[in-house]
């Protein structure tokens, strides 16, 4: 049992071990370099921002955060969930058509149609444009 379990996920476990140890090792080497005075330590305000070296943040408080950015992430999540539900259906589609006939196709077709209505609505309201005219 142990053998079987380990064999199945051995590659995955080795991969995740390497994937975690590389960044941790880098940080550790950097820290050791600081201890023996090879790496200088000069923190500044820009360096300590969340995205160091990226664009400067422009808001102080979360209340003023523009919802538009969030909305694009939400659109992505909805597409994501939609795709997730298509996978198990697509894996067995050939057999499902034999067992259930047209229901297998129509069920998913209706699901996709209903889920797309939201996008059509957003498109009609011109909310999919990044900059839109408010008329």
């Amino acid at each position: 049992m142990f053998e079987e379990y380990f064999r199945q996920y051995a590659i995955l476990i080795i991969f995740s071990l390497v994937a975690t140890s590389v960044p941790i090792g880098m940080l550790a080497i950097s820290f050791i370099a600081q201890l023996i005075n090879v790496r200088p330590s000069r923190p500044s305000e820009v360096k300590l921002t969340a995205y160091e070296g990226g664009m400067l943040p422009f808001e102080e408080r979360p209340e003023k955060f523009n919802f538009k950015y969030y909305y694009y992430a939400i659109l992505f999540v909805v597409f994501d969930v939609e795709a997730v539900f298509l996978i198990p259906w697509a894996v067995k589609y050939g057999i499902l058509t034999k067992q259930f006939g047209l229901v297998a196709l129509l069920g998913t077709l209706i699901f996709l149609t209903v889920a797309t209505i939201g996008y059509v609505y957003a498109w009609k309201k011109k909310k999919l444009d990044w900059i839109y005219n408010e008329k």
């Binding site: 142990f2 380990f6 969340a50 808001e59 950015y69 259930f100 889920a115």
Partner: protein, 215 residues
């Protein structure tokens, strides 16, 4: 098959400890960015638990949707905040949210205690070899549409359509596919409706923001 060995126990307890400690970090750390990273770690740990339960599909979905998408949502919010450590001010909704959290926790506890954990019990105590075989090796679905029944052998004489399925513990993805078309067809459609509600609800909030001119 679900296995009980020292190795799996070791992984389970260490992953559980990781999940709980990361969740505590999410609650108590004042730096939003670190909280978001810790939350992603929590989701990843839960995915590992799913893999240990032989629910590979749910585990992959957990990584795809929660680690991939929800964490991106959090990172979006963090990107535009200047003083991260000062931005976590105590909310005035605290007593209200405390009550809600306690209620959710109580409902979880009641739910977990009242579920009959059938399949695990069957594997541990049942002597019925047919059920164990169907779950961990293979079973056959005979017939069409509404008249499908499940059998351990192919029954070629009956003239029915016989579909070979691997056991639930080997191939959980295709079992979910069958259930989406068969038993939970209505729930499947309702999920589509919920997705529409998500998109349209987001539009509604965006409209209010535009009217406030806080662009």
């Amino acid at each position: 098959m679900i296995e009980n060995s020292l190795f799996t126990d070791l992984i389970f307890y260490s992953i559980s400890a990781l999940i709980i400690s990361l969740a505590i970090i999410v609650i108590f750390i004042s730096d939003i960015f670190r909280a978001a990273i810790a939350l992603a770690g929590t989701f990843l740990g839960i995915a590992v638990i799913y893999f240990m339960l032989n629910a590979e599909f749910i585990g992959a979905v957990q990584i795809l949707v929660y680690v991939g998408a929800i964490s991106v949502l959090m990172a979006f919010a963090v990107m535009f905040l200047r003083t991260l450590s000062n931005s976590a001010t105590p909310s005035s909704y605290r007593p209200f949210s405390f009550i809600i959290s306690v209620l959710v926790f109580i409902s979880f506890v009641i739910g977990i205690y009242n579920i009959e954990w059938k399949t695990i019990d069957i594997l541990d105590h049942s002597n019925d070899k047919n059920i164990v075989e169907a779950l961990s090796e293979k079973y056959y679905e005979l017939g069409y549409g509404e008249q499908i029944y499940i059998s351990n052998n192919q029954n070629i004489d009956s003239g029915l359509l016989a579909v070979e399925n691997k056991g639930v513990y080997i191939d959980s993805t295709s079992v979910i596919g069958t259930f989406l078309v068969q038993e939970y067809l209505l729930a499947f459609q309702v999920i589509g409706l919920v997705l529409v509600v998500g998109v349209v609800g987001g539009l509604l909030i965006m409209k209010e923001v535009d009217e406030d001119k806080t662009l």
